[in-house]
Each structure stands twice: as C-alpha cells, then as structure tokens.
C-alpha cells in the first residue's frame, strides 16, 4: 500500500505536471495495451516494423544528433546485424535468440571500425565518407553471391516467436528498453560530453576530454542498437536482403531523425511512429499507393518549412515553457514556475524590454 501511494505520488509530481511526460506515458501504455484491445494482424505487423525502425532512428540520433557525427551510412550497422544473425542462424543452425546478440556484437565491431576510420573527419566530410561504407559492403555482397545470397539475400529465417502478438511484444519491449536506455545515456554525464564534442571539439579536448575515445564509444553504442534492430527485423520478415544496406534506408533514417528533431532521442522515435504507419496507410489505398513515396516527401518538405528544427522540439515549445530563472520546464498554461515560483511570461517580456538584451 505504501509503495502504491508512493508510486502515485511520483506519477503525479513527476509525470503529470508536464504535458510532454504525460504524452510519453500515454504512448507507452497504449503501445503495451494495444494488442489486447485491437489485435488485428496487419496493424500488429506495421507496428512491429515501426518499433524496430524506431530503435534504428534513435540510435542514429545518439550518433548524429548528440555527437554531431552525421552518419549517412547508418544502414551499414543495420545490415551488419541482419546479415550476421541470418548467416549464423541459417548456416550453423543456431537459435535466433542467440544470433541476434551475435548480430549486435558484429555491428558493434563494425561501428568501432568505421568510427576509427572516421576519427579525423568532420562535418560534411564525415557524412559523405560514411555514405560510402554500406555501398562498399553492398558491392562485396554482390561480388560473392554464393556466400551472401547476392541480390536475393538470405531467406527462410526462423522467427523468434510464432504468434503475431508475441512478435509484437518482443519488438515493443526491446524498443522501449533500448530507447529508454539511450535516452538515459544521452541525459547522463556521458551525454553532456557528447554535446560538448558536437558543439566544439577543440574546446572539449582542451578541457581534458579524450574525444576520440568518446567518439568510438558512441559509434559502438549506436551501432550495437542499430545492429540489434537489424537482426530483429531480419528474423521478423524472415529475410536479410541487400535492401537493409541500401542508400534509401540510410537516407530514410536521416529523414526520420531530422524530421523528428535531432538531439532529443524521442523526436526520431516520434517521427518513425508518425511517418512509417502513415506511408504504409497511404500505400494501402489503391489510388494513392503509387503516390506513397511522393506524398511522404511532400509532407516532410511542408512540415520542415514550418518547423525547421523538427517536429518534437516544435510541439514541446507549444505545450511547455521554460522558467527564466531556474530553467525548469513547465506546462505552457502555468503563470508561475512550478518549482521556484518565478513568473513565466508577462513579466519576462517587460524585463526583456527594459534590459534590451537576451
């Protein structure tokens, strides 16, 4: 009983005071409760894929948004995870429950390798150089079709679970766990160092931060998450094909990340949850099925014109306001800061007029 009361108090004081946290809680509950309420196999399939791509997008954000290593070849890690897991489980007959971890491990190694090669590159150079790696891998796959299955890929994989609902829960729970872990990591001291590296690497190094080690660590973590997602997806759709390495997938994750808002973790996840079902839904109409990618691009373009910083920061600015004194966030309807009692809006505007700066 005490624990229940304590839990309720925590919920009321920490979650319900901020609309964004309430939204996230509602989303988590909806995600976990959905199959019990509405267990349509098609919807579950789409949501399973959405969850897996959400992991992928969140891992990209840690690397590109926080650390500023804007990776144009993130599909490499996804594909490395998918192919490793597929090859191990099909050729050696290992259970997919084991090979998924092997896939993530290999993806981590690939991530460290790419990160090591890219340590000295910055900005656009890094983006364009990373674009090359998945294509090199793709060329190798096509050149040795006996090993990799060539253009057809490796099909006939075993699923992790038999029912759609079990598969859905595997994807949803791993998505929630990984995204939460990434979000925690990004908010920790480690994450602050990453911000510093992105904003000014020289200054970060001058402050005694071993930036190469941090960059390698981020590449490893991000690649591990992406590889895990790739392996899960390969076992879910039962094929690991060249499409998991294509430029289109790398660009897709860049679009998700920037559309949702970089350096937030939740932004890209929100973007995937909006855009992926949207494109699938558009594709289900006969008339607009062919227009689906077109509609996708137009929507992204229009949304960007109005919210150039991305969707999640824009929404957050609408429903929340930052306290000018203690920098804590408050619901936008509040007049006084919930923690320090400082007035939030009107007075601030006057003060700004008086002082004339900021």
């Amino acid at each position: 009983m005490y624990l229940l009361r304590r839990g309720w108090a925590e919920l009321k004081n920490e979650v319900f005071v901020l609309p964004s946290r309430t939204l996230v809680l509602a989303w988590v509950v909806a995600l976990l409760a959905l199959p019990a309420v509405y267990g349509d196999a098609y919807v579950l399939r789409i949501l399973t894929m959405t969850c897996l791509f959400a992991i992928f997008a969140a891992s990209w954000d840690l690397l590109a948004g926080y650390t500023g290593q804007v990776n144009f070849g993130h599909a490499l890690f996804f594909g490395a995870g998918a192919y490793t897991s597929a090859l191990l489980s099909l050729r050696l007959g290992v259970s997919p429950w084991v090979t998924i971890w092997a896939g993530a491990a290999v993806a981590t190694l690939v991530g460290v390798f790419v990160g090591y090669l890219c340590l000295r590159l910055r900005g656009s150079y890094l983006s364009l150089a990373t674009l090359a790696f998945p294509l090199i891998a793709l060329g190798l796959l096509f050149a040795f079709p006996g090993f990799s299955g060539g253009e057809l890929g490796i099909s006939g994989l075993r699923r992790l679970a038999l029912t759609p609902m079990a598969n859905y829960y595997i994807a949803a729970v791993s998505m929630l766990a990984i995204v939460f872990a990434l979000w925690k990591l990004a908010g920790s001291k480690f994450g602050i160092v990453l911000h510093a590296i992105r904003d000014d690497e020289v200054a970060a190094r001058a402050s005694g931060i071993n930036t190469p080690r941090y960059k390698l660590a981020v590449f490893a973590v991000s690649a591990a998450a992406a590889g895990f997602a790739g392996a899960l997806l390969a076992h879910y759709i039962r094929i690991a094909g060249p499409s998991s390495l294509e430029v289109a997938l790398s660009f897709q994750v860049v679009i998700w990340g920037i559309f949702g808002g970089v350096a937030t973790i939740y932004g890209p996840v929100a973007a995937v949850f909006l855009l992926y079902p949207l494109t699938e839904w558009l594709g289900s109409f006969r008339a607009v099925g062919e227009l689906r990618l077109l509609a996708f691009a137009v929507i992204v373009l229009l949304v960007l014109l109005f919210m150039p910083r991305g969707l999640a920061p824009w929404v957050r600015d609408r429903i929340e306001a930052q306290c000018p004194r203690c920098k804590q966030r408050n619901g936008a309807w509040k007049r006084l800061c919930r923690l320090c009692g400082a007035p939030l809006k009107a007075e601030v505007a006057r003060a700004q007029r008086l002082v004339g700066h900021q």
Binding site: L117, A143, V247
Partner: protein, 289 residues
C-alpha cells in the same frame, strides 16, 4: 584493352567532372549539400527524352530547352524550399533529399519505371589508336570540355564569377562589401544545375533513362567531391578523372568488376581521406565557430 580503359575513363571522367564541379560550386558558395543534384541530371535526361522522342523537336533544340527548363525548375525549387530554411543545415539536407525523392516519384508516375532508350544523336565511329569510339561518346567529351571551359571563363573572367568566388571565400565579408549574397547564391544554383542538366542530356543517348538513374552517379559524385576536397573545383576535376579511370580499370581488369566498380571507387576515396582528411585539394581550415 588498354585503349578501352583510356577512352572509357576519359569519357566517364568528363561526365563526373560536370556533376562534381556543379556540386562543389554550390557547396562552396551556399554550404548546401545538395543531394538533389543528380536528380536534376535525371530530370534533364527525361526532359530531353520527352522533347526528342515524344515531341520530335530535333536534337539541338530539345537539348537547349531541356537544360533551360531544368535550370528554371531548380531556381524555383531553391526559392521555395531551400531558402526559407537556409539557417538550419539539417533541414536543408533533408529538404534536398525530399526534393530528389519527389522528382523520382514524379518521373515514375509520368513515364513509368521501365528503361527508356534514346536514339543516338550522332551515328558512326571514329578510330583512334586502334579503338573505335562512337561519335556519341566523343560528343560527351567535347561538350564536357566546352562546358567546363565556359564555367572557368565565367568564374575567373567576369564580375559575377568574382562575386561567386568572393562569397565562397567568406560569405559575411562578401555581404559587407555590398554583394547581394542571396542573388549570388541563386546564380550559383543556376550554374551548378545547368552543368548537371548538360551532363544528363549528353549521357541520355548512351545510358538508359530510368527514374532511379540518379542514385549511382550521386554516390560516385560525392566520392569525387570528397576525394578532391569539398568546395575545390580543381580537386573535383582531378578527382573525377581519377574515379573515372579507377572505375574503368576495375570493370575491364577484374572479374565481377561491374559489381565492384562502385566499391573500389569508394575504397579509394576512403583511403585518400585517411591520409588527408580534407581531401586532395581541400584547405584544412580551422573549424568555423
């Protein structure tokens, strides 16, 4: 075989140089990583196809109209889509990706996904050093050389070129010196896309035209630009020739070379970057803060 390599490398290198120099220009002046650059090349090829095969306008006329129309489309796109989000680099990036996807889908809708062939604009071959070169490929080379000379002339012998180079050097100072940097950026967009469109028109009769033809050259072009040094025109030209020859050698000399040509070209790029992170002719400038 040696002669084949020499000729193919030169012709492909010419096409790549047209694309890479345009991309480099626009990056240097406006700091835009224009993913849609090769989409305009694809658009020009389709435009040329429509005017030549469907409307029967004749080669020269359709080529000129195609280049002009695509340049116009690019300038309009720049004004409507890129300029409002110029300050947000990330937004510019995915705006150009979205533009490329939009063009791809529009072409897919209007012309369908199958390969379209364009009849050769020039028939016949010329024999040089025992290799027969079709006039069509020779035309690519001549047009590429002419276009590059023209660009060189504009950049280094006119006031507009001076403004473009000044803006590329330092945008703020150019602005303070009274140049209209927005207009300069727009002129650069026009020049750069016109180069891509010229490339699209001349290769259309040699390659096949399909809505996905922008992806492969996009990657090669990015490799070239990075290899040569971002924003460096000389680097782009030399990088284009290097990659053109590397691809030709891979295709002719290695088994399964057609699959590996992209991989080998990209490996060269990665190798150069490891030795010189700013590319062959890039300047290692301090980070802009």
């Amino acid at each position: 075989m040696l002669q084949d390599i020499l000729v193919t490398g030169l012709v492909n290198g010419g096409v790549y140089a047209l694309l890479a120099i345009g991309f480099s220009l626009i990056f240097g002046v406006a700091r835009i990583v224009n993913i849609a650059h090769t989409a305009f090349y694809m658009l020009a090829a389709y435009c040329f196809y429509a005017l030549l095969v469907k409307a029967n306008l004749g080669f020269v006329l359709s080529a000129v109209i195609a280049v002009g129309a695509v340049t116009l489309v690019a300038v309009v796109c720049y004004r409507l889509v890129i300029e409002p989000v110029r300050e947000h680099e990330a937004a510019v990036l995915i705006a150009t990706i979205a533009l490329a996807l939009i063009f791809q889908e529009l072409m897919l809708l209007t012309f369908g996904g199958h390969y379209l062939g364009i009849p050769s604009t020039l028939e016949g071959v010329v024999r040089v050093l025992g290799v027969s070169i079709p006039y069509q490929r020779l035309l690519i080379l001549v047009v590429a050389a002419a276009a590059l000379t023209l660009v060189w002339f504009v950049l280094y012998r006119t006031r507009l070129g001076l403004a473009i180079r000044a803006t590329a050097n330092d945008l703020e100072v150019a602005n303070l010196m009274g140049m209209n940097v927005n207009r300069v950026a727009m002129a650069t967009v026009a020049i750069s896309v016109a180069l891509a469109a010229v490339a699209g028109v001349v290769v259309a009769p040699v390659f096949v035209v399909d809505p996905f033809m922008w992806l492969a050259p996009l990657v090669t072009m990015l490799a070239i630009v990075v290899l040569g040094g971002l924003g460096s025109l000389k680097g782009s030209l030399i990088g284009a020739l290097i990659i053109g020859y590397v691809e030709a050698i891979t295709v002719f000399a290695l088994p399964a070379g057609a699959y590996l040509k992209g991989a080998v070209a990209l490996l060269i790029m990665v190798a150069v970057l490891l030795a010189r992170p700013e590319g062959l002719f890039g300047v290692a400038f301090e980070e802009e803060r």
